[in-house]
Amino acid sequence: MSQNKNASSLLWGATALGGLGVLATYLLAGHERFWANWILWFVLMFTLGLGALFIVALEHLVSARWSVPVRRIPERIATLLLPAIPVGLIALCAIPVLYPGARPEAAHHPILAGKAFWLSLPFFSVRTLIAFALCVLGLAVLVGGSLKQDTTRDPAFNFRARKFAPAFMAIFALVITLIAFDWLSGLTPEWYSDIFGVYVFAGAFLSGLAATTLSVLYLQDQQRLEGVRGDHLFNLGGFLFAFTVFWSYIGFAQYMLMWYANLPDEVIYYKVRLAGAWRVITISLALLHFILPFFALVTRAAKKDPKRLRQVAYLMLGAHVLDMYWLIFPVLGKPHFSWPELSFALFFLGGILLWLRGAMEKGEDMPVGDPFLREGLEFRL
């Protein structure tokens, strides 16, 4: 218990220290840098929460049984969407600073003038608010209903969730596409890519999976989640493995088509990211987000080895941070990394971990009211 308290006060301390750094960034390092960092962490929190919510919805959509015993974990991670909403509301202040489409000069820009209404501050904000409202709806139905089922033990929730899941998939696609197009590719509004939303989805799902895997292993270390075995871990590992390939497939397909066509307004996105120090980051992204986890998880034994899974899950979360950094930070020019970025990382990581620790202690560790829990515990490969 004392160790727990120690960890907790350490996290609070790190968050407070990071908070000071965040303030100092605003005052000393320039608004553009402050907002770029802010958007990075808003997108990271949001994609992590949404990715976790997607895992929950996926289980209901396909009536998966194996994942019932671990479902409470992504449900808890999905609640990160709640603190992500105020972070996102504050991020709306960044729109006139960082997003060229919302600045007054856009009216005279030959390309942006045609998209002026879509990129304008009011409509941008309205879309973000709609996305937030849809997320809260998804959380209320899928996570709220599941938590309530712990006490009511009412199987009606399963039917409701199964009916809601297909609708949520449409909602999810809309939300993640809006967030990806507005907040990420909105930084370079002359550039466009149809597949960009899917690319961000792949990263979001992977980060949700990695966080779920880590949390399952964390709870297993504390002798909680009794009955969750290597078979369950194998499925999580298999998903992680499969979606590293999916991410690189989408990422490379987008790159290759633009590289081939060589149209100036498309290829500029990669021109920036393949020049100077960004080139190193691009290559390491391919290594860390695809090559390394692919070969780390390729064998059957690795997918159920807790040690290996923990390493790969940390790696995937780190790679997702790098991925989003790679999408956002070229807007500032050359790669920035020093005390402002570290302060933001401390502040937000501390906050996220505090939130998740709180969530992990709340209520039951498994959906005990779910009639399929037993079947899920008996799952074997």
């Binding site: 290759m256 060589n262 034994a301």
Partner: protein, 386 residues
Amino acid sequence: MSETMPASERSYAVLGIFDTPDALMQAIPKVRASMLGAVEAYTPYPIHGIDDALGLRKSPLGGMVLVMGILGALTAFGFQYWISAVDYPIITGGKGAGSWEAFIPIMFEVTVLFATFTAGLGMLFLLNKLPFFGHPVLSSKAMSSITRDRYALALEAEDESFDSGAALRALQAAGALEVEVLPAPDRSPFLTSDFILRVLGGIFAACVVSGLAMYFATKWFPLLKPMVYMQDQPRLNAQKPSGFFKDRHGMQRPVAGTVARGHLPTATGTQDAAAALVNPLPRTKEIFAVGRKAYANRCEVCHGALGNGAGSLTAAYGGKPANLQAQQFRDYPDGKIYWAIVNGKNAMPSQAADLTDAQRWAVVHYVRALQRAQNAKDEDLKVATP
């Protein structure tokens, strides 16, 4: 009794039949502990945990698939790199020779191809040793119930010292409801290397025989033509000799001073001699349209849309096409322009192969119109009366 047991009395295995998967699973460690032979289970459906209980080795298939997949990727990369960067380096679409980005889709496909073929064929032929002539267990009396609702455990003979009596007792002690001794088949049911060699040898021999037969058949009995009439007609063929003319050429030059039917006189002599030719085409809208189109297709890239020698290719080649608006060319008779189209001039190649007689003369009309348009006189401003 002879000293060696006849083959039929040696046994392949002893089968013990159980009626629940649990009974089978409980029996496996006991039978394995007896160390009497290899333990194998036959069940109507996969049973969870049976691999671990039987102590099966990890399948080597995954490793084979990984190696072949990587080999596939390298093969595809190597082929494409060799073709596009070494053997015939060519720049397509502005991409340098050996652009790896373009190779990735093919590499992906070939990786999948190699990996799936290895997985499928490796499982069937290498690991499961298909095809075989009939597994000995298939001939057991219990086989029909094993495929339905019984679970069999087999103690299989590993060498000559296999004691079927002891195996029988071990299985019974482990709780088998029925036991059955399977006699060893008189020869291996699996494809032995000997058999495979004989099959491959047979195929090779058949290839050699048919190849030699084909070679000598075509050599000794030359090809007979079934229908000679159309192939060997008495007619003049292009580029072929003929006995009809004195010089034994199938193709003859046109007789000097003549024009073939349906053709216009053409310019074969010098440009000055061609000055006498007269444009046979009338100046109608249709003819101008033909000339304009032909000019746009064949002439404009160099001579320019206005005929002033500033075409879109001029800069790229660094040449200086004739400025048709120059006084020299405005003074040219029609025939000299026509001659240049037919024979080419300086760096300009002949257009004879690409433009028909009528098109050439139409271009001449069009060039005249271009020259007139750039050097209009006052009288040209008068509206033509219909």
